[in-house]
């Protein structure tokens, strides 16, 4: 069923002198099981858009249908929608409030009115997904490190077993090791669970590595929408929007410009390495002859 957005517009503080158009004329289809990277500069409307997807914001103009539920209808089943679309906010560890890790993760399922057994099963499952074993269950979230706390918060959303998972800058403010860990886990989770995942970020590097499709937002509009390789081949346009292609892509483009025969859709370090090694091998082979 997926997500269907038609002619969506959103204006903040409408009718006041501070009025600001956050979204204009958004049309978007996201199918089940996609892994979408949503990128854009600060203030490009990313966060406003994702809050529409689980009914926290209701469209002023236009329509949204998520798994057959239209959020614009009066009395729409918003609570159910929020179970189906799990939204992990920026710095989600700031929303933790319970005394133990277990209880905090159980908050979502409890709100859904599930039985004790079902809640237990889901909490264990969610915490296992994010790599926290039972030695953490009874710990206070405030004893944990920043990265671990963030994973507890993500587990809190996963425990609701959403069909669609939206993560807003899940790696923001973490050290490189923590970033790596979170992103790898998200990718693994996606492959295992077949959820639709929408990853919001302003870091091209992160998105390039794990998403299949990229949507670029600029000034409240969708500026580009396509496969990772398609997007990064338009490096100049991205730069004009204040975004950057991953460093390896920039390097590859520069090398191609200078006459090195490289593949044009290089956007991860692994690919770059493979391509360069291949090139080096060919060259050595040619010299040996």
């Amino acid at each position: 069923m997926g997500i269907k957005i038609r002619n969506l517009e959103y204006i903040y503080m409408q009718g006041s002198p501070f009025e600001k158009k956050a979204l204009s004329d958004i049309n978007l289809d996201i199918a089940d099981g996609e892994f979408v990277g949503l990128i854009g500069h600060t203030g490009s409307g990313k966060s406003t858009l994702i809050q529409h997807l689980n009914g926290l914001l209701v469209p002023q103009i236009g329509e949204i249908e998520v798994n057959g539920i239209s959020t614009k209808e009066k009395g729409a089943e918003l609570k159910e929608l929020r179970q189906e679309v799990g939204l992990v906010f920026q710095y989600p560890e700031h929303q933790i409030f319970e005394e133990t890790v277990y209880k905090d993760v159980a908050f979502g399922p409890k709100n859904m009115g599930l039985s004790e057994n079902e809640i237990h099963e889901r909490v264990v499952e969610a915490l296992t997904y994010v790599g926290l074993d039972d030695s953490y269950y009874e710990m206070s979230p405030f004893e944990l490190s920043g990265g671990q706390r963030r994973r507890v918060a993500i587990a809190g959303v996963l425990a609701m077993r959403p069909k669609t998972l939206i993560l807003d800058e899940p790696a923001a403010g973490l050290d490189p090791a923590g970033r790596e860990e979170i992103l790898t886990q998200i990718r693994a989770l996606y492959l295992k669970s077949k959820m639709t995942v929408i990853l919001v970020s302003h870091s091209m590097e992160d998105v390039a590595r794990i998403a299949n499709r990229i949507i670029v937002m600029n000034d409240g509009k969708i500026a580009m929408d396509g496969k990772v390789s398609e997007i990064f081949s338009r490096g100049d346009e991205l730069k004009n929007m204040g975004l950057d292609v991953p460093q390896v892509s920039a390097l590859a483009t520069e090398l191609i410009k200078r006459g090195v025969k490289l593949d044009s859709n290089i956007y991860t370090i692994e690919r770059a390495k493979a391509a360069i090694m291949l090139l080096a091998k060919e060259k050595r082979g040619a010299e040996e002859c």
Binding site: N54, Q95, I96
Partner: protein, 266 residues
């Protein structure tokens, strides 16, 4: 929405009132408030009303804004007015042969009360509309300075005030963010009975307090690492100055105040 709360908001435009020393304005307001309550008789009331209007005109803030500021007190005005109509002893008002239960004295008293309340709010608003929170606390600090010899921590009080004012919008924003995050996890803030609703606030209040403490801690560290050591020997980027316009205003205020007092007691 929480964002719509306006709290004695500053109105950033240019006017003679904006340029004045905050001390003049604060003291002026104090005298004004006394005058409003001391004023007596038709001439007295006319004088304070006219003077308040003059201040409003000088502030160049639109009338509409002042009226918006009056919104929260309409209920009080009407409520006390109705009580005064009926409960003040005096000559009963008759319509034909039918006694309305109201008294002439009651109507007059209600009118006076309403006028006083409205003038009170308008003149206080004139101060907050024309003075930014920073210069307001600066002014209060300077005014309290003489008392610091008696052990009153003037600078610290002013600093606490400005920090508190500074963090109101931040905390409002934070509250909205946390409430959205918990709603995304199925929290329900607006259904059920009162106990259920109060309980539903826990997931919002705990993170809010934690973040407020964290912010306070970070701010303290940031201030200390920039060698903040309280008010002793501190200089200012924009020292407040008592200018000619302040002197003129002060003289006008003294004359006005004298007239109101004279009308009352002579």
């Amino acid at each position: 929405m929480l964002k719509d709360i306006t709290l004695g908001q500053y109105f950033p435009i240019e006017s003679p009132l904006h340029k004045m020393d905050p001390r003049t304005k604060i003291l002026g307001l104090v005298f004004m408030l006394i005058a409003i309550f001391v004023a007596n008789g038709l001439i007295g009331y006319l004088a304070v009303t006219a003077f308040t209007l003059l201040v409003v005109l000088m502030s160049k803030v639109p009338f509409k804004t002042y009226f918006k500021g009056l919104k929260p007190i309409w209920f009080i005005i009407i409520f006390t007015g109705v009580l005064n109509f009926f409960l003040t002893p005096g000559t009963k008002i008759y319509i034909g042969d039918f006694s309305t239960g109201m008294t002439i004295e009651g109507v007059i008293l209600a009118g006076k009360m309403a006028l006083r309340l409205v003038l009170l709010i308008i003149s206080s608003s004139a101060l907050t509309y024309t003075t930014s929170p920073i210069s307001l606390t600066d002014g209060i600090e300077k005014l309290l300075l003489p008392f610091s010899k008696m052990g009153l921590p003037a600078h610290e009080l002013a600093m606490m005030m400005s920090i508190a004012i500074r963090f109101i919008p931040t905390l409002i924003e934070e509250t909205e963010k946390i409430s959205k995050a918990q709603q995304a996890r199925g929290a329900d803030f607006d259904s059920g009975n009162i106990i259920k609703r109060a309980k539903a606030l826990v997931p919002m209040l705990v993170p809010l307090f934690i973040s407020a403490f964290r912010r306070a801690d970070e701010l303290a560290v940031a201030m200390e690492s920039r060698c903040y050591r309280g008010g002793n020997g501190r200089t200012r980027l924009n020292p407040i100055k008592f200018k000619k316009i302040d002197l003129i205003t002060a003289i006008i205020f003294v004359i006005f105040f004298g007239i109101v007092i004279a009308l009352r007691f002579i």
